[in-house]
């Protein structure tokens, strides 16, 4: 396999916040290890407050990890030279969830799309103009649209502009943070197809952050499942969506309601609330919601181990076949 | 944690007072020659030297400030240079009741009328009543109070003879000054309440209240208004400052014997002991008012009770 574009080692992020009684520590992320290769798509699956947005921000160097590090082509982000940093900025580009917030309303589309080029490459004006037209047509917009302002576009078109911007600097990795969840349902398939096409055509890798198992299945090759800031399961998308090992993943699968009234019988019904990350349960953080929890789950945090098929799962009960 | 919040506010209040005292002290020292001012033109050199010693003007600036602070803490700001040479603080305190009663009348009636008008305008949104109320608010925001005072005196008191022209006295004396003093704030509160009521009336919790089937009056006066008062409380500090500013003008126009007029007169006659006392008393009042606003906040918005 090719050299990874981004990888993390022992990534953790602790926020100091004000709790109910005095200052408290919020462990948003702990011990996150991921590797992102060009041309491959890694899904990050989790619910609100699980830390997936924090992870995204750290991968984008918008936030710094408390422990561990992010490496760009094997070199820690903190040790990059100015030149390498520019290369990193050019090679890793995000698309955010809300295209109403991600396009500056007072800039023309051509300037929005060109921003990564202006800042991170030494291209001439003429080259930039040509490149803007090229990427606009790649996302299905006529080049004339470059002269217009964002408020003249619908939500779906805005997301296309955001995507055009992200691919303008020919990145190797796209960080996609719920790129379709604010879109209308008839637009979602368009955007997902477009993203997939672009990744295939240009060999771009991606990190696809989502709460929706079905979308992850369509978009990704590999998935990590995060619960309260920790990876609980990691494996190929087919395994995660069909025979997941971790009870949380199984609950997510049950909760991903299929658009079919005849397939509504869930395996494991999800129960309980997501605990506050300020006060996570001891041992396995999922144990209060887990129907299989034993005493060991309350006492000891399970490590990520291979259940025997090359994937990884953090559960004490994985080998107890009786459930 | 309200206790912590109050502590922070008290510390801030202390520093604000200290800062203000320094400003007042420095301003009174850099300006002119207090000795000459006190003694008049035909004083001898010996008189001056004696006076300088008496006032402590031969000491360093820091020592003088320390001295000033120590005295101020004991309520001693010196004596007024004006006729009578009353102690400055006594003079200020004797004028306080007139000002406070006027401000209280103005603020209370302003709040009451402003809130009612604001709610009515929001509820009748888009109708003639709304346009009328907004016109009143527009005029209230635009009319200069000193001119309004003069016009009211001329029309209501002189031409029609309905109310006394000026001076301090019974309830009738309050009407014109309070109206003049309150009109700007009335307009501001009306606009504020109207805007936040419109927001509240379009909110989801008002929808849910209506879904419950409770009467429209309860929806408006209970659900929507309770939330719309929060921004009004936010602006209370500003309103209070507006009132003080207004008091200087209004008390001057209506010959009202309050601290606003005292401030104005003492500044014109460069009566520095009185100026210092007035400014520090007003600052203290102002800080007190802002503390009250913080408490009001805690009472009205449960979300604030948990913030530090």
């Amino acid at each position: 396999m090719s050299e990874p574009v981004l990888s993390t080692r022992g990534l953790g992020r602790v926020f100091r916040v004000r709790g109910h009684d005095g200052p408290a520590e919020l462990h948003a992320l702990s011990e996150i290890e991921i590797t992102c290769h060009p041309g491959r798509s890694l899904g990050v699956l989790g619910e609100s407050g699980c830390g997936k947005t924090t992870l995204n921000r750290i991968l984008l160097a918008l936030d710094k990890p408390t422990t561990g590090e992010v490496a760009f082509r094997g070199k820690a982000l903190g040790s990059l030279s100015r030149r390498e940093m520019r290369d990193y900025r050019r090679s890793v580009q995000p698309v955010f969830q809300n295209p109403f917030s991600s396009l500056n309303p007072r800039m023309r589309v051509k300037h929005i799309v060109a921003e990564p080029l202006v800042a991170a490459t030494g291209m001439s004006r003429a080259d930039i103009r040509a490149r803007v037209a090229e990427v606009l047509s790649a996302v299905g917009l006529p080049p004339e649209d470059g002269e217009r302002f964002p408020n003249q576009f619908s939500g779906g078109q805005r997301q296309r502009i955001a995507i055009a911007r992200a691919i303008s600097s020919s990145p190797q990795l796209l960080l996609l943070d719920e790129p379709v969840s604010s879109q209308d349902i008839s637009i979602r398939a368009q955007i997902l197809n477009l993203l997939k096409e672009l990744q295939e055509d240009f060999g771009i890798g991606s990190v696809f952050v989502s709460h929706d198992l079905a979308t992850v299945r369509f978009m990704c090759d590999e998935v990590i499942v995060i619960y309260l800031g920790r990876i609980v399961e990691h494996g190929p998308v087919g395994k995660i969506c069909e025979t997941p090992d971790h009870p949380y993943t199984r609950a997510l699968l049950a909760a991903a309601l299929p658009a079919d009234p005849d397939r509504q019988e869930a395996g494991i019904k999800p129960i309980g609330e997501i605990p506050s990350p300020l006060d996570p349960p001891a041992g396995c953080a999922y144990h209060p919601r887990c129907p299989f929890a034993r005493d060991i789950c309350k006492a000891e945090r399970p490590r990520l181990t291979d259940p025997g098929d090359g994937s990884q799962v953090a559960c004490h009960m994985t080998h107890a076949k009786d459930w | 944690m309200p206790a912590k919040l109050i502590l922070i506010r008290l510390v801030e209040a202390f520093f604000a007072l200290l800062l203000m005292s320094l400003v007042v002290f420095l301003l009174s020292r850099i300006t002119g020659d207090p000795v000459a001012l006190l003694l008049g033109d035909n004083a001898t050199e010996a008189d001056k030297v004696a006076m300088i010693r008496e006032l402590g003007l031969d000491q360093s600036l820091a020592a003088q400030y320390w001295h000033f602070l120590a005295n101020a803490l004991q309520g001693d700001f010196g004596r007024s240079v004006a006729a009578g040479r009353e102690p400055a603080l006594d003079l200020v305190l004797s004028r306080l009741p007139a000002s406070l009663s006027l401000a209280a009348v103005a603020l209370a009636s302003t709040m009451l009328v402003g809130i009612v008008l604001g709610v009515l305008a929001a509820v009748t949104h888009g109708t003639a009543a709304d346009v009328g109320i907004r016109l009143i608010a527009l005029i209230g925001q635009s009319v200069p109070s000193f001119w309004l005072g003069i016009v009211l005196i001329y029309l209501v008191a002189v031409q029609w003879g309905l109310l006394p022209t000026s001076g301090y006295g019974g309830p009738a004396h309050y009407v014109l000054p309070a109206a003049t003093l309150g009109l700007f704030t009335l307009a501001a509160i009306t606009r504020l309440v109207r805007a936040s009521m419109l927001d509240a009336l379009g909110s989801e919790y008002v929808k849910l209240a209506r879904i419950k089937g409770i009467s429209e009056a309860a929806v408006i006066w209970r659900h929507a208004l309770s939330n719309s008062l929060i921004p009004v409380v936010t602006f209370m500090g500003t309103f209070f400052a507006t009132m003080i500013t207004g008091a200087v003008v209004v008390e001057t126009v209506f010959a009202w014997p309050g601290i606003g007029r005292l401030a104005y007169e003492s500044i014109l006659s460069r009566d520095f002991p009185v100026i210092q006392a007035v400014v520090l008393v007003i600052t203290a009042l102002f800080i007190l008012a802002n503390l009250l606003v913080d408490f009001l906040y805690l009472a009205i918005d449960p979300r604030m009770r948990e913030k530090g």
């Binding site: 991600s102 | 925001q141 200069p144 003069i150 016009v151 002189v158 606009r191 003080i244 200087v248 500044i267």
Partner: protein, 278 residues
Amino acid sequence: MRDLAFRVAVALLVVFVVVALIGPYFMEHDPLRGSLRARLDPPAWLPGGTWDYPLGTDRLGRDILSRIVSGARISLAVCALVIAIAGTVGTVVGTFSGYMGGMTDRVIMRVVDLALSFPVILLALLLGAISGPSFANIVIVISLVLWSQYARMARGETLRVKNEDYVDLARTSGLGHARIISRHILPNIAPSLIVVATLQVGVVIVLEASLSFLGVGVPPPNPSWGSMVSEGRSYVVTAWWVAMFPGLAILFVVMAVNIVGDHLTDRLNPALRGRGGA
């Protein structure tokens, strides 16, 4: 209906500015010099009035119309200077505070809050009393009062814009702080600042007039609208027009400004409706 009010208001403001700029050159009478034969003459339409003095004369026999026209220039000059000074200082402080965030922001904002609600008229009176009434004084004092409003608006808007995803996106493209502020923040907070500036024109005019009325503003014999009202105060009963007309001038101009300000608020930043003028 709203549009009509807006148009009338804009027309009135245009008249105000034009009169302030070129009006004085068309006036027959010197606003500073009176005619002792024509003291306290009533307006033209009252018995005893002449069209020589359309709005009458004051106690020194000076033409009130000429003085109002001349006063417009003073009001306009004070407005322009104050808004330039307070606007610049406030915007810089507020944007800096909001962009930096954290402790810096908290300290700056406490100061701004204090400045915002402090009855600065006391300082104005003090300064006026100490250094005597002067044009420069009044500009400084009013700027001192008003910069905090820009600072608060600029800070709040900066915080809002800073949280927009396009600012994060700009950072991921490697833009520096200066470029983020100039390309992303300032253009997006500008509309709200324009609204504040508009609404403040009215505040400035009234403050200037109030201070001049109290005798610590524009020094006599220059005809500030406020000092004209003050002079007319003693003659309300016998010659009401001396105080009436300059007061009406203030009222109309400030009303027009407020109408335009409200209109701009609705157009540029509806979220601030009703909160600008307090």
